[in-house]
């Protein structure tokens, strides 16, 4: 087709001419997309004008082995043949059409300062909404005067985790044990209060991003060991234990989390003795833990299966018993293999926490739902969801990056 036209076939001899011609056409095409220069033409022509200009421009600068390094790498990456050129043009058009309006909405036309709805005069986003509701979005309905307790609990958590990173390996063990077995209870007693002269705050008042973190942290801590035992159970040589584990795992993996939450909130109280009462938040955390531990078990099982038999044989031949062999030989290697899987399960858990909305617990997304239905602040759903999406994205992206670095750190050659 076009290749056969020698007139239009760009060559090395008059490189500068082709480059300048191509650039002019290309810039003209881009300019047409942005400013609609050829609007006077009938719509079905003006629609294709920029496409044709850009295509021609890219065709003219597609000079093979031009000797110009920048041009060569450009051609290789985005302009290697006519199909790639069209893809490039569409990608650029998409970016031109979508990025500027998005930036306008997010920043340039947006209102940042103010205290009420009327302060939002621009066409863009009304970040005043987030500003005003910020405390509620983070802490839920927790009493304003007591917020320092949540802050203290989380700052303590961050400090202890930071400590675990910097101390020597000998002390690190004790810090980790403290972190996993003691600190959660300190955190809960600090946040819920009721002793040490702290005011009792009902779990109904907990909410916002803090609740997301609380549920995630507890479910993560519990679901990991439960998942390990389930994975071992599924590979057990005792039929009763094996089938019990299989049944348990497949049951939780087969149902959606939302029905599990329904079960925890409406069905489970029926299963408890008459006078006992279990807090809804506790029931929900147990439900999420059981649900995610089944997924964790499957991930860990993948690691166990991937280990060669020789590792088991070696462990046994050293005279190790079942538990010691798994603790010292099998688990460290198996878990290392499945770091990405474990990270994915943790990510799924964090992304699943907003679902607790259906049983009436209001974490970040639930609080946004509440804020946007407030009569004084109607019509700011988009801002709220973009904010929440940003927060969750940061959390999840950071977790996945961290898992990749862990994977690299513990990678061993086989």
């Amino acid at each position: 087709m076009i290749k056969n036209l020698t007139l239009l076939k760009p060559n090395k001899e008059s490189l500068n001419l082709y480059i300048s011609l191509g650039t002019i056409f290309f810039v003209l095409g881009i300019a047409d997309v942005t400013f609609n220069i050829f609007e006077f033409l009938p719509i079905w022509i003006s629609f294709f004008v920029p496409l044709a200009f850009c295509f021609l421009g890219l065709h003219l600068i597609r000079v093979e082995f031009s000797g110009n390094k920048k041009l060569d790498s450009l051609n290789k990456n985005i302009n290697s043949n006519w199909f790639n050129a069209i893809l490039t043009i569409f990608a650029i058009f998409l970016l031109i059409k979508s990025i500027p309006p998005m930036l306008d909405w997010l920043f340039f036309d947006a209102n940042f300062v103010g205290s009420k709805k009327e302060d939002c005069t621009g066409d863009g986003a009304c970040w005043v909404f987030i500003n005003v509701w910020f405390e509620r979005l983070i802490y839920g309905l927790y009493p304003i005067n007591e917020i320092w307790r949540i802050n203290a609990a989380f700052i303590g958590l961050i400090l202890t985790v930071g400590l675990a990173f910097f101390v020597s390996a000998k002390i690190k063990k004790y810090v980790l044990i403290f972190l996993i077995f003691v600190y959660p209870f300190i955190m809960i007693s600090l946040i819920s209060g009721g002793n040490f002269g702290l005011e009792w705050v009902e779990t109904n008042a907990w909410g916002g991003l803090a609740l997301t973190f609380i549920i995630s942290i507890f479910a993560l801590t519990f679901c990991f060991p439960v998942g390990l035992f389930l994975a071992l159970g599924r590979r057990s040589s005792y039929p009763v234990i094996r089938y019990a584990s299989i049944g348990f795992i497949e049951f939780w993996r087969g149902v959606p989390l939302i029905t599990v939450l329904f079960m925890a909130s409406v069905m489970f109280p029926m299963f408890l003795p008459e006078d006992t009462y279990m807090d809804k938040l506790v029931r929900v955390v147990i439900a999420i833990t059981l649900f995610e531990s089944a997924y964790m078990a499957e991930v860990v099982r993948g690691g166990l299966q991937a280990l060669p038999r020789g590792q088991y044989d070696a462990g046994k031949s050293l005279g190790m018993g079942y538990w010691r062999m798994h603790l010292l030989v099998i688990m460290p290697q198996a878990l290392k293999l499945v770091i990405p899987g474990i990270a994915n399960t943790f990510l799924a858990l964090v992304k699943d926490t907003p679902l607790i909305l259906v049983v009436g617990l209001l974490e970040l997304i639930g609080m946004i739902d509440m804020a946007k239905t407030n009569p004084k602040w109607l019509g700011f759903a988009a801002e709220g969801y973009v904010f929440a999406g940003f927060v969750f994205w940061i959390i999840c992206y950071a977790m996945s990056r961290y898992s990749i670095s862990l994977e690299r750190k513990y990678k061993t050659d086989r």
Binding site: N77, I78, S80, N84, L87, T88, A91, I92, L94, Y238, P239, V240, I241, A244, E250, F251, R253, G254, V255, P256, L257, I258, T259, V260, F262, M263, V266, M267, M270, F271, L272, P273, E274, G321, W323, R324, L327, L328, L347, K351, D352, T353, P354, L355, L357, V358, I365, D369, K372, A381, A382, Y385, V386, A388, G389, F392, W393, C396, Y397, S400
Partner: protein, 398 residues
């Protein structure tokens, strides 16, 4: 690290008595399971006795007396709870199938794009995957439903597509196909498909026996097009379009009448499910294609296969072996995730049955169990099928 001997004496005792060592842990487990189940059953029994509720599924036959906004089969308040269950289940399946279709198409496109030699395209695909994979699905559903679709115009200023379909805040109105003598067309299609299967088998046998190839693909397309057309013509199959039209209800209230209304809940849910699941499918596709080694393609080319044949006969069969198991898992996840419909009031199984029906009857145990069992049997059926399929396509090593 030094680990002290933490056999509590019991371990040594058990390993000295193999029979007892085999029996005791299992007996303890069994006892614990029976105890827990018994404890829960006993409590449930006492609780229901004190509240005067009896356990049973008789309520399914009662009149439901609530309406469902969107239904694929005839339904109103006078039908039974069992029928409401069916409506919910069909709606769940509908949104799942729509979601699976679009997620697969988008996922394959994005997965291939990520491997593209074009820098811009692969970068865009990567950005898409990283953004949509890391935001909770519920948030995405809410965003499309409460923020994006609410910005659509009212019926009076609807966005029209060729004057037959209309996109409004109340949903997407598309023409309805009204068939006459539809069964004739249906049977002719079935006949065409059956004969294609036979021709395919015959063609394969002939190629294996003699090496001659018959143009199976062309024959199939021809059969699929011509046979139904001819039969429809002879059997007087008719097709009419019922185009939605704007109707004025009062001075300011307009709405569309006729056609099929794809309600905004369905749109938002299908959109969010497809966009979210497509990111995972894209990763599966990418892993699958990267999993086929270059040597395979070169070997295929060296025995004289055309590029199309290489893709069809050598690359795809091997890539699919890697792609299909995790992708099926994603389909299953999508189906389970469609239960998030309850959060935006799309009448799926969870909303209709575990929501409205449970509020009305108050039978928490029966209804939650039925709902869970439905999802459970769905996923167990699919995983049994997948295990069978995996065994079938696994490489048989010598």
């Amino acid at each position: 690290m030094k680990i002290k001997n933490f056999n509590l004496g019991l371990g040594g005792f058990l390993s000295n008595n193999p029979k007892l060592g085999n029996f005791l842990p299992q007996a303890v487990t069994l006892f614990a399971i029976i105890f827990i189940i018994g404890f829960f059953t006993f409590n449930a029994q006492t609780n229901m006795d004190t509240r005067g509720i009896d356990f049973g599924f008789g309520f399914l036959k009662q009149e439901s007396s609530f309406d469902i906004q969107f239904s694929l089969i005839d339904y109103d308040g006078s039908y039974s709870y069992a029928r409401a269950y069916l409506v919910g289940l069909l709606n769940t399946l509908l949104v799942s199938i729509i979601g699976i279709f679009f997620a697969t198409v988008l996922g394959v496109v994005v997965g291939i794009s990520r491997l593209s030699s074009n820098y811009l395209i692969s970068k865009l695909a990567e950005i898409y995957v990283e953004i949509f994979r890391n935001i909770p699905l519920l948030l995405q559903i809410f965003f499309w439903y409460f923020a994006a679709l609410r910005a659509l115009p009212l019926p009076k200023e609807a966005i029209s597509f060729f004057d037959v379909s209309f996109l409004t805040i109340k949903g997407f109105f598309v023409p309805k196909l009204v068939w006459t003598n539809f069964s004739v067309l249906f049977y002719s299609l079935v006949a065409a498909i059956v004969s294609i299967v036979f021709i395919y088998i015959y063609g394969k046998r002939k190629q294996e026996a003699t090496g001659q190839r018959i143009p199976v693909f062309l024959i199939s397309v021809g059969l699929l097009l011509i046979l139904p057309l001819v039969v429809s013509f002879l059997g007087r199959v008719g097709l009419d379009f019922e185009i939605p039209s704007l109707v004025q209800h009062s001075e300011t209230i307009f709405n569309f009448k006729g056609g099929i209304n794809i309600i905004p809940e369905l749109m938002a849910l299908a959109l969010a499910l497809s966009l979210y699941t497509a990111t995972f499918i894209a990763e599966c596709v990418r892993a699958g294609i990267m999993g086929v080694t270059k040597g395979q393609k070169e070997a295929a080319a060296s025995i004289g296969l055309t590029p199309g044949q290489i893709l069809r006969l050598v690359v795809m069969p091997q890539a699919l072996r890697i792609i299909i198991p995790p992708t099926t898992n994603q389909y299953l996840n999508l189906t389970k995730n469609s239960s998030l419909a309850a959060a935006i009031a799309y009448p799926d199984l969870v909303l209709v049955f575990a929501g409205t029906a449970m509020m009305q009857t108050g039978r928490a145990i029966e209804i939650v169990s039925i709902t869970m069992l439905t999802y459970l049997s769905l996923s167990i059926a699919i995983s049994i099928f997948m295990n069978w399929y995996n065994k079938k396509i696994a490489i048989k090593e010598k």
